[in-house]
Symmetry: C2
Subunit: 359 residues, 2 copies
Amino acid sequence: MDTISFARGIPSPECLPVAELADCAKSALERDGEVALSYGSTLGYGPLREWLAERHSVEPSRVLVTNGSLQAFHFVLDSFGEGRVLVERPTYDRPRKILAASGVELGEIAVDEDGLDVDELERELDGSPAAFLYTIPTFQNPTGSTLSGERRRRLAELVRDRGLPTLEDDPYGLVRFEGEPLPSVFELEGGERVMYSSSFSKTIAPGLRVGYAILPAALSAKLEELVASTYITPALLAQATVYEFLRRGLFESNLERVCGLLRARRDAMLEALERELSGRARWNRPEGGYFLWLDLPDEIDASELLTRASDAGVTFVPGADFGGPPSSARLAFSFVSPEEIDEGVRRLAALVAPAAAPV
Amino acid sequence: MDTISFARGIPSPECLPVAELADCAKSALERDGEVALSYGSTLGYGPLREWLAERHSVEPSRVLVTNGSLQAFHFVLDSFGEGRVLVERPTYDRPRKILAASGVELGEIAVDEDGLDVDELERELDGSPAAFLYTIPTFQNPTGSTLSGERRRRLAELVRDRGLPTLEDDPYGLVRFEGEPLPSVFELEGGERVMYSSSFSKTIAPGLRVGYAILPAALSAKLEELVASTYITPALLAQATVYEFLRRGLFESNLERVCGLLRARRDAMLEALERELSGRARWNRPEGGYFLWLDLPDEIDASELLTRASDAGVTFVPGADFGGPPSSARLAFSFVSPEEIDEGVRRLAALVAPAAAPV
């Protein structure tokens, strides 16, 4: 019995446009190999920076293209000195670990079904100032929650009023299956206090490692030396390949295809949860992204459940790994097929209330 | 009048095997796209790690493939805690800047025509212990010097006796135009205290950003978490492309071609120096690499000379930027053509002793 993974927050192999990228990589080098194969483009491949600048209505000088957006997170973080950093509770485990390891003082602001609790953020800032806020407003990792339109406007105002440097991390924003897209906090605030990061990991392919950040112009200029001292020049072949993919107009159609594949997976998970766990657990219904969030009865410890689940052939990540409650879990629907999702939820549900199951 | 750059330590565009890499990138994705386009290979693309392991006669678990070898330098450095770091004087400016910015205590050991002065290293270690040694024994950046066979053996013994963790950085070792290759310090020592780093920047193309390090197995396992927290997975498309290039047997023939191009450039520089500056300056005759080292008369300040040289259409990097004497300069022969080299040396020589030149 193969293990069914609701743990891996990565795209299913069929999401990857392998043949198109193979062709784009070849064309990219044939067209601009001397640039893409040499040193020099410290802040990223020029044509891609220009494309991103146009998409986000900023000057190309404000665009930093990195080896994945986590690297951009490091650069932005390193550019701020001392001071308390605020993150969401729960939040993406990598930044959480990085911040914990760096020894900075960490504050946490709750996330609910409408995203970051902006009232709590305001009270927190009243109590003690902060140097930096890290937030994932759309289809958040790990909860799948999305910050509501109303809260987005309030958050934009609050960070402007308080002068709070904020990084809006938005890798999932374009992976929307339904509902109306919401404006980014970056757009609402005007891009002065709010920096924006995203990547092509969820819209094209993660192994390309092409992420980016939109920064104040002064900051991207200041970061040039740090970037050069970190890796001299980012991996340009992948950036030139992404640019070729965009240039050929393949981005929108691929995104539509990926959203269709992911939507079928989310639907399969929602249907199976409804069938197997209705009344015994709660979960949300994200309109996009990779994840949904499962709230189990308080008496269930998700870490203990994971041990039994692994034996039964299904895995997930306990919510506590992201700073969530012990009885919560992150279920990724991105990696496995709808059929596997159906079977995986069946296996998981059989463990949630075994007393109620027929012997 | 175009400026002739002896400053840029990068390959001439004609060194880059653009068409072959374009084809390899396509094949690499067609053959193994699902792996190369996804997350997972934290320590590098598996087949490339295996190829490197075989080349260096180590287990694949000891091979870390990174986004350029400077990134490997960071990882190795981060894995050592407190303590004094020893570097060569002069040495590659990036590590020098990184170490200075990190605030570690720095010690410097002189490099002469036969490379690192091992006697001085021994006296230095007698005086005060060190946590780490960084050395570039072959065709060193910036001097072009190569550690002699005798000194290599003594260095290997010394670091073994003293238990001194050492990083042998060897990006230029294979770019040898003449003379017999020398064993690496890594090989002589047995790879216990000595770690080895290199890259495909000088043998294939720098923009690929494919570097690597051979580490003790315990260290590479320990670094996995740090690597994942830095960029999750390195840029795999470039690594898979390099592997395809190797797999097709293109590496040796390309290296031979590149060495031929570089040799012609070195020869052009040596001939022009002999013709223009004989008796007025001293320089070495490296058997490979990108650079040679110019010792100007003591009364000449190379930084001041650079200002005048830039006006006259030729640039270089003052030796002081690498920790060398004020009257020294690094001349890179890698980037410009033999004809430009000839003209560039002519321009430079006209400034070195203008009093002696006809008015």
